[in-house]
Symmetry: C2
Subunit: 326 residues, 2 copies
């Protein structure tokens, strides 16, 4: 069921999910994603929202709305930090980036199922905490994305008549595509901003790709790759710590302290949240990154840690909280 | 004189160059570059043009025009394959990419010098072959970029009153900037092409960054990184073999056979021409890449070579001839 070319982090198993998404179902199914806020309205954490970042490529999801399971999906990539999507999909409607967008390839189930109809059989298999259904087998009020057991999934799969699951091999990863769409929208906003002159616009657009003034400033701050020690500028990427698209001001986008100088593979790990750094310079490795991949990238053995400055540390706090896959 | 953070390939020494550029001097000095065709008009190779790819970051250049040495420059990056620049600098005026653009930071010399005025002293220090001056100390007809000895450079430097040379540390590398400018121009041409519908335009623009249809096709052809064996799609770049900007048709830009799936650092080496491949899959390493950098990137020990298909091999021939730094 899981494609052979996808290496899960060792010990990370395939997970089965259930989502209750009444209000947003049509938009999410059509758009090929799930979206949730990062926090409750009062700022509290929510297991349902934290699950958005636990779900990963290859996981399976049952979609429940209007009291029926109507779609099954396969997660095609890790969640991306975005603002609430508009009808056109992910967009820069504001600068909040207050939610997670999880890419999912959906297909309708052959026989839409009302779980309440099989409640006596289903109830013993459902989770005790964070169940998507209440004690009567109706949709639980506050539930969004929640994990269910393989046994529950298998029962529901059979009763929905699901024979073939979506093939992961035909589902391209979506993380970079969503990022690119967000970057494109932010670039368009820069082009249309009457408060910026043409030089500022050019600097901001160049900084998207780690070029121009931003790169020069990062070189002045960092000098070499913290992981490999490479100092040949032709081999280094000027990477934003707080992502370019998430920056709230032009100054943040061009701030050399908001940058690291990394070899391209290290940059990719950092950009995807597979690694981050403590203020003392120590690298943190996500459990989402397999030991095998880290070994193949030869990034397990690194240069001695160099402590970060105060402004870099502020940006790194954003990275650890919203980018790093903890 | 050479910045400490720049690692030259072991054994590669700082070189001194002289350029005769009468016709194009004003444009090249103002634009911060040198440009030459790749070949003579009759298709023959020229040492003067081949020198454009031998010059590298940190090398020094004396610019000779109107019978005077008027500028001294420092090479800030390797040459990039471009068409003949227009007055606006590098541009996509045609699809030929028939020349080399070498980025140089120029400054005027304090005392412009007519070399003929010191000819008896200078002549013994000038090269026997490919001298930029004829036997009378006048500009040689066909010369363009040619190497001179350190002794000749030192004499000319003293007589031109050059005390401080341009500081390399304040000269950012230009390779990616020129590439981005070329890519931007090509993207604009796609946006304006009435022969393409909106879906085709979107696919072509996505393929610039190795996304979309092109990426899906490369994944189908390659499956994993040839150097590291990484198969986690979140860690791989779909890289064009014949660069996106140099492709002559939409089909070439979207051809999965014109792609490799590489980890980001391997992609950077391939994109810069620091490595290439033989049709049997063997990696070729440029003498321009230092052993130290290769060691730090841990790309010296690779997976067993996998032979390429016929179409991939055709694209690789372009890469070995025009991208690889031999």
């Amino acid at each position: 069921m899981v494609e052979t070319t996808w290496s899960r982090a060792s010990g990370e198993r395939l997970r089965y999910w259930w989502v209750n998404h009444n209000q947003s179902a049509a938009q999410e199914i059509a758009g090929g994603f799930l979206w949730s806020p990062k926090r409750e309205a009062n700022g509290a954490r929510s297991q349902y929202y934290d699950n958005m970042r636990i779900a990963t490529r290859g996981d399976l999801v049952l979609a429940y709305s209007a009291q029926h399971i109507g779609h099954v999906g396969i997660v095609t990539d890790d969640a991306v930090s975005t603002a609430r999507p508009t009808e056109d999909g992910p967009a820069i409607t504001d600068r909040s980036y207050d939610g997670w967008m999880l890419p999912v390839a959906w297909r309708p189930v052959p026989q839409p199922l009302r779980p309440r109809a099989i409640w006596p059989e289903l109830q013993p298999l459902m989770p005790a905490r964070y169940s998507p259904l209440d004690l009567n087998g109706n949709g639980a009020q506050k539930a969004y994305l929640t994990e269910i057991s393989e046994a529950a999934f298998d029962l529901l799969r059979a009763r929905c008549g699901i024979e073939a699951l979506p093939a992961l091999a035909t589902c391209p990863p979506q993380f970079e595509r969503i990022q690119d769409a967000l970057d494109d929208a932010a670039e368009q906003a820069i082009a249309n901003d009457p408060a910026l002159d043409s030089t500022e616009k050019a600097q901001l657009v160049q900084s998207r790709r780690g070029q121009g003034l931003f790169r020069d400033r990062v070189i002045a701050v960092e000098g070499s790759c913290r992981l490999t020690g490479v100092s040949n500028l032709a081999l280094l990427v000027a990477s934003h710590i707080k992502p370019w698209r998430s920056c709230e001001t032009a100054a943040e986008r061009l701030d050399g302290e908001n940058g690291l100088l990394l070899t391209p593979s290290a940059d990719r790990l950092f950009d995807r949240g597979f690694i981050s750094f403590e203020p003392n310079g120590a690298m943190i490795i996500s459990p989402r990154l397999s030991t095998e991949d880290l070994r193949r990238l030869r990034l397990a053995e690194c240069e001695p840690a160099r402590p970060f400055g105060e402004r870099q540390s502020d940006y790194l706090q954003h990275h650890r909280e919203f980018i790093f896959l903890s």
